[in-house]
């Protein structure tokens, strides 16, 4: 039966103290009573300190093992800086590609604009000559075909100009994706710093003497483009923006 050994242990551990307490109480010996209470507290504290010391030793051992893990060293020392360099490179590549596209758009737009304008003028001139009746039937037929061709060339040219504006606008992906990539680069840099501190600067981390944390997100600096499934309380399109802006302006006037 387990009750016997427990009561035996209790008796051995606390019996003498309880007896001393009882005797002091019965004798009305306040000083003696308090002395026993103090020794009782001391016994409890010793146990607590022993447990804490043991916990601390185990924690240090676990941290040492964690710090010496080669995967962690490789992550902090090589893979995270590599990841930042790769993302930087992606930013540069998309920037170059967007500028190269815009170079071509800027060079093509005046050419197509010139061709479209010339086609419109020629279509009008063909129509003028044909309407004057000065051309023979066979020339008149050719003029009609030329007029129709120039009119189509003008319309096509205008469509190409519109499409080139759309190509230009599509380059805004570089700004939007770039803002998102920059935020990921910042995050990786913070993680890298924290990991390096953990691997190399154990004393600081354990004593609570930690360097300043990265600044908390400051709303006045902005949050970057909204991400589906991540960002909350965002607007749904320009119309939504216009309504909120009008509301904000009205609130300002209050």
């Amino acid at each position: 039966m387990s009750a016997i050994p427990v009561s035996v242990t209790l008796q051995q551990q606390w019996g003498e103290v309880c007896l001393a307490l009882q005797e002091a109480l019965e004798a009305g010996d306040e000083a003696g009573f308090l002395a026993v209470v103090n020794s009782l507290t001391g016994m409890r504290e010793r146990g607590l300190w022993d447990s804490l010391r043991e916990l601390d030793a185990r924690l240090r051992a676990a941290l040492d093992q964690f710090r010496l893990d080669p995967r962690l060293l490789r992550l902090a020392g090589k893979e995270m800086p590599d990841a930042r360099a790769r993302l930087d490179h992606v930013l540069r590549l998309t920037d170059e590609a967007a500028h190269r596209t815009m170079d071509l758009v800027e060079r093509s737009t005046p050419l197509v604009a010139r061709t479209a304008a010339a086609a419109a003028t020629l279509a009008a001139q063909c129509q003028e000559v044909r309407a004057s009746g000065a051309a023979s039937p066979c020339w008149a037929e050719l003029l009609a075909r030329l007029e129709s061709h120039f009119a189509a060339a003008h319309a096509d040219g205008e469509t190409v100009k519109t499409n080139l504006v759309e190509v230009l606008m599509a380059q805004s992906y570089q700004d939007l994706s770039g803002q998102i990539i920059r935020r990921v680069i910042e995050l990786v840099a913070q993680l890298e710093e924290e990991l390096a501190r953990l691997v190399h600067g154990s004393e600081g981390a354990l004593s609570g003497n930690r360097p300043a944390q990265p600044a908390a997100e400051d709303p006045s600096r902005g949050f970057g483009p909204p991400i589906p499934g991540v960002s909350a309380s965002t607007v749904d399109g320009q119309q939504d923006v216009d309504e909120l802006l009008a509301m904000g302006v009205a609130m300002k006037g209050m």
Partner: protein, 127 residues
């Protein structure tokens, strides 16, 4: 609408500055200067005469909202039309920008037509 207006376009991405500059050219505005954040833009605004400011919000150095507040608190610049052109899409931010005195707010990605409409609207009193 006056076509000789002088614009300052502020954005940290050179691709976006180039897109806006091209669109302004298409609308007939050829006088366009650029800056890559508020810290660079503010001394330019204080030193040279500009008629319109188009600014991003999220930029290193000085963000667009701080630039807007600096412009509104400078007696010489306080009445300048300011269009914010940004991907910042939180509802509170738009209300905050309105309270800080922004004249127009265009959300990225945007179309050439939306930019033209908003510019027309904020420039109407000046035309």
């Amino acid at each position: 609408m006056k076509k000789d207006l002088r614009f300052l376009v502020v954005d940290d991405f050179s691709t976006m500055r180039r897109i806006i500059k091209n669109l302004l050219h298409d609308l007939g505005y050829a006088n366009v200067a650029e800056a890559d954040d508020g810290k660079t833009a503010l001394p330019m605004l204080q030193a040279e005469p500009f008629d319109v400011l188009i600014t991003d919000w999220n930029m290193p150095g000085m963000p667009g909202l701080d630039l807007l507040k600096a412009v509104r608190s400078d007696p010489k610049l306080a009445r300048m039309p300011v269009l914010m052109l940004t991907a910042e899409a939180k509802r509170d931010q738009i209300v905050e920008a309105a309270k800080a005195g922004v004249n127009g707010y265009v959300i990225k990605p945007f179309t050439a037509q939306v930019l033209a409409e908003k510019l027309e609207k904020i420039l109407a009193p000046a035309a």
